[in-house]
C-alpha cells in the first residue's frame, strides 16, 4: 500500500512536470507569434510607405489646375487652368481667412481630390488638411474631403504655403491605410 502511494505521488509529479512543459511550450509559441506579428507590422508600415506622401504632395503642388474656372470671390477671379495648384490653394486659404465661404472653391477642391484619388491606391483614405501656422492646430482651415479622424497607422507629409498677410499656412497630406475609401 505504501509503495502504491509513493508511485501515485511520482505519477502526479510527472503529470505536473508535463503540464509545466506544455505551458512553457505555449509560452514559447506565443512569444514566437508575437515577434512575427511585430515584424509583420513593421513590414506593413513599409508597404504603406510605397506611396510616399511627400513625393505625392510635392508633385501635386507643382501641377497645374488643369481646367479654366471662375471663382465667385469678392472680386471675380478667373483661372486659366495653367496656374500651379499651390498658388491657387494659397489664394483659397487667404480667402477663407478673410471670410469667403468654402463653397466658392468647391470645384477647385474637387480637382485636388480627383487628382489625389487617381494617384492613391483605393486601399488608402486620403485627407488634405490646411492650417494657419499660428501654433494652434485644433481647427483646420480647410479639409479635403474631411479632417483625418484616425491617424494611428497613417503616413503624412506637409508643405508650407505663403499667405498674403505675411504668415504662412501648413498643408498636410494624410494617407490612412486603416480606413480605405470607397
Amino acid at each position: 500500500m505504501f509503495g502504491r502511494s509513493r508511485s501515485d505521488t511520482s505519477a502526479q509529479l510527472a503529470l505536473l512536470d508535463a503540464m509545466v512543459f506544455f505551458a512553457g511550450a505555449l509560452l514559447v509559441t506565443g512569444m514566437m507569434f508575437s515577434q512575427r506579428a511585430t515584424d509583420s507590422e513593421a513590414h506593413e508600415d513599409g508597404i504603406a510607405g510605397v506611396c510616399d506622401p511627400a513625393d505625392l504632395l510635392d508633385a501635386l503642388m507643382k501641377a497645374s489646375v488643369g481646367e479654366p474656372m471662375e471663382l465667385a470671390t469678392q472680386r471675380m477671379t478667373t483661372l486659366t487652368g495653367c496656374e500651379e495648384i499651390s498658388q491657387v490653394l494659397s489664394f483659397e486659404l487667404d480667402e477663407l481667412v478673410s471670410g469667403t465661404p468654402a463653397e466658392v472653391f468647391a470645384e477647385f477642391n474637387g480637382i485636388i481630390r480627383g487628382a489625389l484619388l487617381a494617384a492613391c491606391t483605393p486601399a488608402m483614405e486620403l485627407h488634405l488638411v490646411a492650417f494657419v501656422d499660428n501654433g494652434s492646430f485644433d481647427r483646420p482651415l480647410l479639409a479635403i474631403p474631411s479632417p483625418a479622424t484616425s491617424v494611428s497607422v497613417a503616413v503624412s507629409s506637409s508643405v508650407t504655403l505663403p499667405s498674403h498677410w505675411g504668415g504662412q499656412y501648413i498643408v498636410v497630406l494624410v494617407l490612412d491605410p486603416a480606413s480605405p475609401s470607397e
Binding site: 509503495g3 502504491r4 509513493r6 508511485s7 501515485d8 511520482s10 505519477a11 502526479q12 510527472a14 503529470l15 512536470d17 508535463a18 503540464m19 512543459f21 506544455f22 512553457g24 511550450a25 505555449l26 514559447v28 509559441t29 514566437m32 507569434f33 515577434q35 512575427r36 515584424d39 509583420s40 513590414h43 513599409g46 510605397v50 506611396c51 510616399d52 513625393d55 505625392l56 510635392d58 508633385a59 501635386l60 507643382k62 501641377a63 497645374s64 489646375v65 488643369g66 481646367e67 487652368g81 495653367c82 500651379e84 480637382i111 480627383g114 487628382a115 487617381a118 494617384a119
Partner: protein, 150 residues
C-alpha cells in the same frame, strides 16, 4: 512486485504525461516551422522591395534629370522612353513591370515595359514615385512611375 514500487502510477497516468509532452513538442515545432517560413518570405519581400526601389530610382533619374534643376520632361519624351533598356542595366535575373501613368489633369497610360510573366509570381515588390511633366498644352501634369518586381 518490487518493480511496481518504482512505477510512475499506471498506464493512464503515463498516457496523459505522454500526451502533454507530445502536444507541447508538436506546438513548438509547428510554430517554429511557420515562423521560419514567414521570416524567409518577409526577407524575400524586403529584397524585392529594395530591388524595385533601385529600378524606380534609375527610371526617375532618367526621366527627370535631377542634375538639371528646374528641368521638366514632356509627356512625349516619357512616351518614347525605352524603359526595358533602362532596366536591362541591372545585373539581376528578376522579372519586372514598369508603368508610367498620368493622373492629372488627364488620366492616361503613358508607357509600359514588362520582362517575364507575372502569373507564377509568389513574392512581389512594389514601389511608386511621382513627378511632374509638361503636356502638349503647356500644363504641368502629375505623373506616377510604378515598378512591380517578382
Amino acid at each position: 512486485m518490487s518493480w511496481d514500487d518504482r512505477a510512475v502510477g499506471g498506464f493512464f497516468e503515463d498516457l496523459t504525461v505522454l500526451l502533454f509532452v507530445l502536444v507541447g513538442v508538436a506546438v513548438v515545432v509547428s510554430a517554429g516551422v511557420w515562423t521560419a517560413q514567414d521570416a524567409v518570405e518577409a526577407r524575400t519581400d524586403k529584397q524585392l522591395g529594395l530591388l524595385a526601389h533601385e529600378i524606380l530610382t534609375v527610371v526617375l533619374s532618367e526621366i527627370s534629370h535631377p542634375e538639371t534643376p528646374g528641368y521638366l520632361p514632356t509627356l512625349d519624351r516619357i512616351r518614347s522612353l525605352d524603359l526595358l533598356g533602362i532596366a536591362e542595366g541591372f545585373n539581376s535575373d528578376c522579372q519586372f513591370c514598369i508603368s508610367v501613368a498620368e493622373h492629372h489633369p488627364e488620366r492616361a497610360w503613358l508607357c509600359n515595359a514588362t520582362r517575364g510573366w507575372p502569373e507564377a509570381a509568389a513574392d512581389t515588390g512594389f514601389v511608386s514615385g511621382f513627378l511632374n511633366a509638361l503636356d502638349s498644352t503647356g500644363m504641368t501634369a502629375l505623373i506616377e512611375v510604378m515598378v512591380l518586381v517578382w
